[in-house]
């Protein structure tokens, strides 16, 4: 079902634009947090957002599935197109949108429910399963894709909060994957984890690229270099540079990018 795409297909897909933003501005009250951001995010690609703390990476990421709607003071202007359709259009239901654009947060936040119920949460809400067997299958598939199945298959009814930090984060990824999103947003998904768990998550992200457009915010440049194909560098609310990861890390055009990469601003 999830056969690897052929080389030709992959080459084609490299150019599919999944999300494109035009002239995006975000304000928190009077603070102008995101200024004029234009970016094209490709399908089946890992895109990394890097930049110093407070530069607006999380804010921009949250625009992509309208999570900023839950913040009273936040105001978003401009266009963000998902498959050519403006997600800030009045017709679009943000709740439906978030099922298509899933999100994984910085701190693992499993619900205080069983492992099974955590993963089944989204499918249940969206009525994705015809019956229990169907749901079981969805849960198993999601857990397998999050590389967690083998570790938890014998204790599906144990609370999700009882897992280790890395397992919890993979549970959250499984939870997001279970709703069959098209895009997966991850906000520093490994920053609360130890090195071993981090490398498991990174492998997982690389796997997920086969099926999804993955956008990952990270403060670790090594991580961006390891997992992403495209990198966007943000600074003070501006998108300074956006290009292939290899280009950004070896031959950046903007002097600000270069100073950040070489550790002079941070």
């Amino acid at each position: 079902m999830y056969d690897a795409p052929t080389a030709a297909e992959q080459a084609l897909q490299q150019h599919d634009i999944k999300i494109s933003s035009r002239n995006v501005q975000v304000y928190y009250g009077d603070t102008h947090a995101i200024k004029d951001v234009d970016v094209d995010i490709e399908d089946k690609t890992v895109t990394a957002f890097i930049g110093p703390s407070g530069c607006g990476k999380s804010t921009f990421l949250r625009c992509l599935n309208r999570m900023n709607d839950t913040i009273d003071v936040a105001r978003v202007e401009g266009e963000i197109l998902l498959d050519g359709e403006n997600i800030y259009d009045k017709k679009v239901d943000p709740v439906q949108l978030r099922a298509r654009v899933g999100m994984v947060f910085q701190k693992p936040n499993p619900f205080p429910k069983s492992i099974y119920d955590n993963v089944a949460y989204g499918p249940r809400i969206h009525g994705m399963a015809k019956n229990r067997a169907d749901l079981d299958e969805i849960v198993e598939r999601a857990l397998r894709r999050a590389a967690l199945w083998d570790e938890v298959k014998d204790r599906m009814s144990a609370p999700g909060t009882g897992l280790s930090g890395g397992q919890q984060q993979r549970l959250c990824i499984a939870r997001a994957v279970a709703t069959e999103p098209e895009v997966l947003l991850m906000d520093e998904p490994a920053s609360a984890l130890d090195p071993i768990a981090t490398s498991q998550i990174e492998e997982l992200i690389d796997e997920l690229r086969r099926n999804y457009a993955v956008v990952i915010v990270t403060h670790s440049m090594q991580q961006a270099a390891r997992v992403s194909q495209k990198t966007a560098f943000f600074h003070l609310g501006n998108l300074v540079e956006y290009d292939d990861t290899s280009k950004i890390f070896t031959n950046p055009e903007d002097p600000r990018t270069e100073s950040y990469i070489t550790g002079r601003i941070g």
């Binding site: 839950t70 978030r98 999100m103 936040n109 619900f111 949460y121 809400i125």
Partner: protein, 487 residues
């Protein structure tokens, strides 16, 4: 010395000590506070604490213990025939105190000399008349033994307070001198003050605990006394409550417990859904301005004295219910007082309590839970129902149990709203009564304090105490367990 002046003197000494300690410390380093071990104010505080704490501790203990000892000694002097039961002894003792106070007043006004007051004999002088002259009215002739007891009482009290003043002043002065002498640049005043503060805090905590212990003990003693007069299984399993002060009462607690339970149940049925929903609205949906306005308002509601709710039950809710369910319509309700009246009003009283506690608990659910749910495409009410309420459930259960224990202990609303008839019935429109209301009515009659009809109040109080204690412990246990979840 008067206690008032004694306290003032010790306080004055402490203030002086603070100032002297500070000055002396500074002088020991020639005014350069950098060379002191602690900040100058610590040296001052040290002297002040050393003056205050031991002196006041002894004074409080003395004031508590002295009357006990004096009462004991004086009670021994009362001949057996003047005092038979425990109740009578306390009457005689209050006579003794009254005569003693009268003698004090007489001496003060110059009607008697100190000598005379200590030596007059009832056999030779009409005490009642002489005290009456100076405005101290006594109900009956003073017997010789009472007068002698009063004189001993006076002299013991006088010498007791004299010695107390001496000891307290010595302690204060001693503490003052010791602390001042130790004041020196290397003295670790900061650490000593720290332990002084600890001592004060410990004292406060132990007073709180000891008082509780005292209350429980007095409850227990009187309850045991009651069960000596009335069979224990008749109390716990008796189905009739009909106290008659002439004797032959039936004091079964079941009808009272049933009333308590029934009224609390109705109260919770009103308060829990409304309180919980309003908490969900306030914490999840309400815009900031609404919340800023409504939350304090609810807390004000929680502060209304229950007697006001009682009046509301009596004057508004009761008559209204009667006009709806009374003889004019369906005829279920005979009088305005009923389980329903009290239950509804008690429910209204509990709404702010439930809602404010639940609101705190819901707010304690981490934002990350909400984000996680919204991020999966859940709506707000799905998030509330499937993530927030389950996460907050243990805490909410705890809040409900706390509300239940308040409902069980509530008195005023029941007195005004539920009537006074102890009854075992299922009809919520009938008048019933509760444990608390009966405690009030048993104690406010003017029956003999040693009769089972009065002592039963303590057994009722004890029953109530145990029930609410269990509920509270359970509630605290649940709430605490829930707290650990997010640490």
């Amino acid at each position: 010395m008067d206690v008032f002046w004694l306290v003032l003197t010790v306080l004055g000494l402490a203030v002086l000590g603070y100032w002297l300690g500070r000055t002396r410390a500074l002088r020991s380093v020639a005014g350069d506070s950098r060379y002191l071990h602690s900040l100058p104010s610590y040296y001052g505080t040290n002297v002040a604490l050393m003056t205050l704490v031991p002196a006041f501790f002894v004074m409080i203990a003395w004031l508590l213990i002295q009357p006990l000892i004096i009462n004991d000694t004086v009670a021994d002097m009362i001949p057996e025939r003047a005092a038979q039961g425990a109740g009578e002894l306390s009457l005689v003792m209050s006579d003794v105190r009254r005569v003693a106070a009268g003698l004090d007043a007489a001496v003060e006004q110059g009607a008697l000399t100190e000598e005379e007051a200590a030596s007059i004999r009832a056999e030779f002088t009409d005490i009642r008349a002489r005290l009456g002259e100076i405005g101290v009215a006594l109900g009956q002739e003073v017997s010789a033994s009472t007068l002698r007891a009063a004189q001993v009482y006076r002299s013991m009290t006088a010498s007791g307070s004299f010695w107390m003043s001496v000891v307290v002043l010595l302690l204060a002065g001693g503490g003052f001198a010791t602390a001042l002498m130790r004041t020196d640049k290397d003295f670790r005043a900061r650490n000593v003050v720290e332990s002084g503060v600890l001592a004060i805090l410990f004292l406060a905590a132990s007073i709180a605990i000891l008082t509780t212990l005292g209350i429980v003990l007095s409850l227990i003693f009187n309850t045991v006394e009651f069960f000596r007069l009335y069979p224990i299984d008749d109390f716990f399993f008796g189905l009739t409550w009909s106290p008659s002060f002439g004797g032959g009462s039936e004091l079964g607690v079941i009808p009272l417990l049933w009333g308590t339970f029934y009224i609390s149940l109705i109260a919770l049925a009103v308060a829990v859904p409304i309180g919980l929903f309003s908490a969900v609205y306030l914490s999840e949906y309400a815009p900031k301005p609404v919340r800023a306005f409504a939350k304090p308002l609810l807390e004000v509601l929680a502060g209304i004295p229950t007697i006001v709710y009682g009046l509301f039950a009596l004057l508004t809710v009761g008559p209204f219910l009667q006009s709806v369910f009374g003889d004019d319509t369906v005829g279920w309700m005979q009088s305005a007082s009923s389980v329903m009246t009290a239950g509804l009003v008690m429910g209204i009283m509990l709404i702010p309590f439930v809602s404010s506690l639940s609101d705190d608990i819901i707010n304690a659910v981490p934002q990350a839970m909400r984000d996680g749910s919204y991020g999966l495409g859940a709506t707000q009410s799905e998030t509330v129902r499937q993530v927030i309420l389950p996460a907050a459930l243990p805490g909410i259960v705890g809040a409900i149990l706390l509300a239940a224990s308040r409902a069980i202990g509530e008195t005023m609303i029941v007195v005004f709203g539920a009537g006074a008839a102890a009854r075992l019935s299922l009809n919520p429109f009938e008048a019933m009564t509760t444990v608390t209301a009966k405690i009030v009515s048993q104690l406010t009659g003017d029956a003999d304090f040693s009769s089972p009809e009065v002592l039963v109040a303590f057994a009722l109080g004890m029953t109530l105490f145990v029930i609410t204690l269990c509920l509270n412990v359970l509630a605290l246990y649940i709430v605490r367990k829930y707290r650990e979840q997010y640490e």
